[in-house]
Symmetry: C2
Subunit: 450 residues, 2 copies
């Protein structure tokens, strides 16, 4: 089943559209105003217009690829059947009250109707999806238009977590290629979504949020098969099964089994939503790490200790730098600082960027993490780092703090660095890059051997 009608429609109907602000059918229409194609509000009890679009009395009149259903749970199967008869190929079902509430029969009826009509259904029990690059904001949450286009796709079991990650990306000055809340996954599950965004040219990395799934093997096989790098935020470390089952109708998996399973299939796992979007951003920015060895450069020793400590605790390697690198570092440093790995420059300095460049070029280093507390008189090494990751083949995570001007942060990002706002976040992103590099080192070696 193609997901094009769902995720790449040419026309949209909002069934249950409402003129009452706050109602799903109003907020969904408001967010879809940015879509560059027909968006038809459907409501047999309304007339006139909503956001300058005339109401249709039925979905048959709307001529839509995608139907966004803002109707109560009980009405969903019948509305889906109408959609099928009207040629709709994709649907978003916001309503809760299905498997997550013990209403398995209702969800089965939804799935049966959707399958019979060949409709790809996102949900039920989801807050929707976004594809900012297509101007497609199929969520009922206000403010999602602030999510700009980017190159990471967030595919989350929970719409709430998907939105939390999307708005966090906004706060970090980043965009997203897509944000999807899968909800109860009546007939669109993780594998289909991962395959779809793997083939999306705008998506350079995928971050999953997984509470539990009936088809873990299918998901893992898919993650291994796709070309796009994937990381997974697996939730369910403790016994929250009763609550989780009431959420999306699936038992949470065993955390340890999930983590081991994902790694076996080449997917690093993370411990928080911010770590997920940080490392996905780093994987999307590229290049991909080819081993577990991290070079650390810091302008302040204390944060450097935090970074080194977290890297080691997460299983990353901090290799000794080559003699050539140490020579370059020694040239720039006064000698009283710690010039192995981490390299500690004492304070930001004019040659800070050259020190980072030497470490990034070191043959023993697969990824670099930098920490620098911003000092206005000294600035960030934006010029020295511009294009450095691409030139050296080494991904660079730049963690910083202080009163940094937005334009310096933007310059670092545009130059290929992934910017994070604390030593811990920089370390956690770099540690996950190291895990990715370790898991894919053999694959990379095998490809070279062929």
């Amino acid at each position: 089943m193609s997901l094009d009608a769902l995720f790449d429609p040419e026309s949209i109907a909002v069934v249950g559209a409402s003129t009452t602000p706050g109602k799903l059918g109003h907020e969904a229409m408001a967010n879809l105003r940015r879509f560059d194609g027909p968006v038809t509000p459907v409501n047999p009890n309304a007339d006139g217009e909503l956001f300058d679009r005339p109401f249709a009395a039925s979905v048959a009149e709307a001529d839509a690829d995608l139907a966004v259903l803002c109707v109560p749970a009980g009405a969903v199967p019948d509305v889906l059947a109408e959609c099928g008869e009207a040629g709709v190929g994709g649907a978003v079902v916001y309503a809760g009250g299905f498997a997550e509430a013990g209403e398995d029969d209702l969800q089965a009826a939804l799935a049966e109707t959707a399958d019979a009509h060949g409709i790809s259904v996102l949900g039920p029990n989801t807050s929707g999806f976004l594809r900012p690059g297509a101007g497609l904001y199929a969520s009922f949450v206000g403010g999602v238009e602030r999510v700009d286009p980017g190159d990471v796709a967030v595919l989350a079991q929970s719409g709430g977590v998907a939105h939390a990650m999307a708005f966090r990306a906004v706060r970090e000055g980043r965009g997203l290629a897509a944000m999807v809340g899968l909800g109860n996954r009546a007939n669109v599950d993780f594998p289909a979504a991962v395959e779809y965004f793997d083939s999306d040219p705008a998506t350079d990395a995928i971050v999953l949020h997984v509470e539990g799934t009936d088809d873990a093997r299918g998901l893992l096989e898919t993650c291994r098969a796709v070309e796009t790098p994937v990381v997974a935020y697996t939730v369910g470390r403790e016994d929250v099964d009763a609550f989780a089952e009431s959420h999306t109708g699936a038992l949470t998996g065993s955390y340890v089994l999930y983590e081991a399973g994902f790694r076996q299939y080449g997917v690093p796992t993370v411990d928080s939503s911010i770590q997920g979007i940080d490392v996905a951003q780093a994987l999307a920015a590229g290049p991909l790490p080819e081993g577990p060895n991290v070079g650390v450069v810091t302008a302040q020793a204390g944060p450097g200790i935090i970074v080194a400590d977290r890297l080691r605790a997460a299983g990353a390697e901090l290799p000794t730098l080559s003699e050539a690198t140490q020579g370059t570092v020694d040239e720039h440093l006064p000698g009283i600082t710690y010039a192995e790995n981490p390299v500690d420059t004492g304070r930001p300095m004019p040659a800070f960027g050259e020190v980072v460049a030497a470490v990034a070029a070191d043959e023993h280093v697969d990824a670099v993490v930098v920490y620098e507390l911003y000092e206005p008189g000294l600035g960030l090494p934006t010029e020295a780092l511009d294009g450095l990751a691409a030139e050296t083949g080494t991904p660079i995570v730049f963690a910083t703090g202080g009163d940094v001007p937005d334009e310096e942060l933007a310059a670092l990002s545009e130059g290929g660095c992934t910017v994070c706002f604390s030593p811990e976040r920089g370390a956690d992103a770099a540690a996950t890059l190291a895990t990715y590099g370790r898991l894919h080192a053999n694959a990379a070696a095998t490809e070279v051997d062929r």
Copy 2:
């Protein structure tokens, strides 16, 4: 030895003041412009003025309580002796190149001179301290004037970590009562600093950053003796000793021993700088938790699962709510959501605040954590939560996401909630409150029994 001359001076001399932007002696003077008292630049090789203050040729001419030393390491003992003869009672020494660089003799000379003249020395090898409420910004890092007055004191072994935490507080819209980088602790160590800020009326909670200390018992005894709540960010989980020793001249302690030791003395430990400032803010906002039981209210299930999962993993209890509370919750909820603990309201709703209020008032609950993805049409429950923590005696952590207006966040903070920008941060802060409550439950019971 009183620390008043150091932390509460009436007059300040900047020794080694410089007219060259970027130099320590220039940046330090620039930041001290906000101080409401005499600040004298001292430099025998300069004349004229710096920031409208005439240069003095020697510290003796400056008549200062506090001397901020922007001179090279080798000159420090002699300059300190001059300071002592001039009646200076406190000094900040920025220079590195002492015990952290193997120069134990130089540090011993510094300490000996300081002790002989009764000078309290912050450092050496520190980037200084801030007391925003006193307009006192004794740091050389640009932008520190953005740290507003608040009620948490950050006492960090590393000046770099201290500044990272201070600027993070700024990003979160919070202020600080103080920020101190202790550095090499030549004659002012953790116990004296903790005692000083315990007696500071502006300080309602203290967060420590500890890499290692020669006098762990002294620190622990002090933490137990003071009235102000203390939390500790202990760094050194892995073997980073060689690097850490090169930093502040102390071996990092064993992480596990530190963590156990702190808890034995009533001090919860945290795993990141943001968790440290979050929970310190919650302890400062008050009231203090009296047990380990956390009530969770969420408007979105997925983030609620994250919160519950992290709370349990950290050892917090999620008690069953009382029948009265469950009755109140049932009145407001449509019945399909999960009305035990966590309470899941499905979406934000008009009665969301009343649900939080019922949980906060529950006799089984010692702390509350709320998660709500902001929906503009529904808003945050600022009115219902205004003063609720104080009324119920239950601290409230409000985690949120989305496009939240600053004024709603400010209203929540002013109403006594601690606001965090992710489900994970809300959970981590609440889990640490639960640990605090568990560690102090017996003490509270004992006091009641007396």
